[in-house]
Symmetry: C2
Subunit: 306 residues, 2 copies
């Protein structure tokens, strides 16, 4: 096997009341990544897209993730990765995570699947550290494990797969920039205990609803009393998009990652498409450009292309 | 049908990271309650135990719960309830909830099961309001629904049953008094967002672990970074009991309700009994009297005695 190609899908993190722990994988959009094992040590990154991302492996998220894997192997060989990004950087749907996870999954296949999913997630988190300054796993977890995932703990890394019924997402990405620093600065350092209790009661119910496949329970539990109320001010038309989506039949939704994308879940592809139409109608009344995606929640994460 | 007798079991609320929402029902100890329908309106309470609880129906938790039911029925009849309490008041294992839930479940059977479990919980919460000043459902929910329950919301009342594997509890009740006011006053009004995130990540994982029946995941998730660290100061020997229980093979545990009882979960009755022995050994070194209970987690709550 000379090379392995993968499709590395977009992911949604910070799922409503599951701030900083709950995420899920989409079927699309996805990045396409081909990794080759090279005789010479070191890493080569080639980007076949127009996003102008760094190709210096020390400054590229896939590069540092592959570096972590090579270091763990104490390897006398290297990797080259050819990346075609379809997930726009800064969209809030796990663009950096798709690159780093796709690269390590492909590389792992090349070396005979030596590493577990948890180890791959750990390597990929080096990419998140480079991209955002923090070793978080909110997007890495669904990207590697697929489906709905809950990051119980970062250190030690503990990722829990949550059972879930068929669900479909409509995602709108308004083409505005939200600086990570701003999205962080706006968060309160302390929260009222009463709000925290409300949040964890909702998250517990959401996990139960997903596990049981009970759509009405999922719907009732998708309430965020802590983060959405402050962060939504960074996203134009957030309330209108949410209201129009609910009118169109969505179960619930909120800010994807730290934005600017907004996601809404539905219980059928047909409804998700109607929701996407309602989202679009809101933004067509503005002069903000946007992309819209409609996708099933995928039970797998990075997929190896056969 | 002239009378209905029930066994109303003890319950554990505030299950570790599930403060103010997660609870479960024990098989024992339980109160025994017999309710009769009477031609005359009004409520009569008879206590056949030595706890000196008020028998004025307006000052008795079963009395006010039955009152709420009669009011909802706009009834031209009444109830009498004969209560033999085996769950000591003030123990932190849902003594008041057992009385009020047992009374309304028995009364509901007498009138042909007119009310849903959720409506019964709502009536029983009047008893909790009388006992503690707040309409909380932490003990009422497992008492009525059985098994593990999560109270997603009080208003509107929303109770979620959580699937769970066979689990067994050892509970020690040190005979000291913790005033509800003290247990409340010691809680912080605000908590760091980082602690809240840790708590809800653990609760989400705990619900997932219970739903999947994965004991190691349940064990890893039973961590309380907010309430236990402050409330344990009210319970002598808390850390020693917990450490001895874990050494004896317990999965995890913590303060039951607002104390003073301490509960520990195990994956077999044999282990739970060994844990109970370890708990006892700690308190035998003190001059504090105590009761110990070992019980399966019961999938049903109040049981109608046939």
């Amino acid at each position: 096997m000379d090379s392995v190609s993968v499709q590395a899908p977009a992911t949604v993190s910070n799922v409503v009341c599951g701030f900083d722990c709950l995420g899920f994988a989409l079927s699309e959009p996805f990045d396409e990544i081909t990794v080759r094992k090279t005789d010479e040590t070191g890493i080569t990154i080639i980007h076949k897209d127009g996003y102008g991302l760094p190709t210096d492996p020390h400054r590229n998220v896939a590069g540092v993730a592959l570096r972590a894997m090579l270091d763990a192997l104490n390897a006398d060989f290297g990797f080259s990765a050819e990346i075609t990004k379809n997930i726009k950087p800064g969209s809030g749907i796990g663009s950096s995570s798709a690159s780093s996870c796709g690269a390590v999954v492909a590389a792992n296949r090349l070396i005979g699947d030596k590493f577990s999913k948890l180890e791959l997630a750990d390597f990929a988190m080096e990419g998140e550290k480079l991209a955002s300054g923090a070793r978080h796993a909110d997007n890495v977890a669904p990207s590697i494990f697929g489906g709905f995932t809950l990051v119980r703990s970062i250190d030690p890394l503990d990722i829990v797969s949550i059972d879930f019924p068929p669900l479909f997402a409509a995602v709108i990405h308004p083409q505005i920039e939200i600086k990570t620093a701003d999205a962080r600065a706006i968060l309160p350092k302390d929260v009222p205990l009463a709000s925290a209790i409300k949040q964890w009661s909702n998250l517990g119910s959401l996990v139960a609803g997903l596990s049981k496949g009970e759509i009405p329970l999922i719907a009732r539990s998708m309430e965020d009393s802590i983060v959405e109320p402050v962060r939504k001010s960074l996203i134009p038309k957030f309330d209108e998009v949410k209201a129009a989506s609910m009118d169109a039949g969505a179960i619930g939704g909120g800010i994807s990652g730290s934005g600017p994308s907004i996601f809404m879940l539905s219980d059928s592809m047909e409804t998700a498409e109607r929701v996407a139409g309602a989202m679009q109608d809101v933004f067509l009344q503005t002069d903000i450009e946007f992309n819209i995606y409609v996708s099933a929640i995928a039970s797998d994460g990075v997929r190896i292309a056969e």
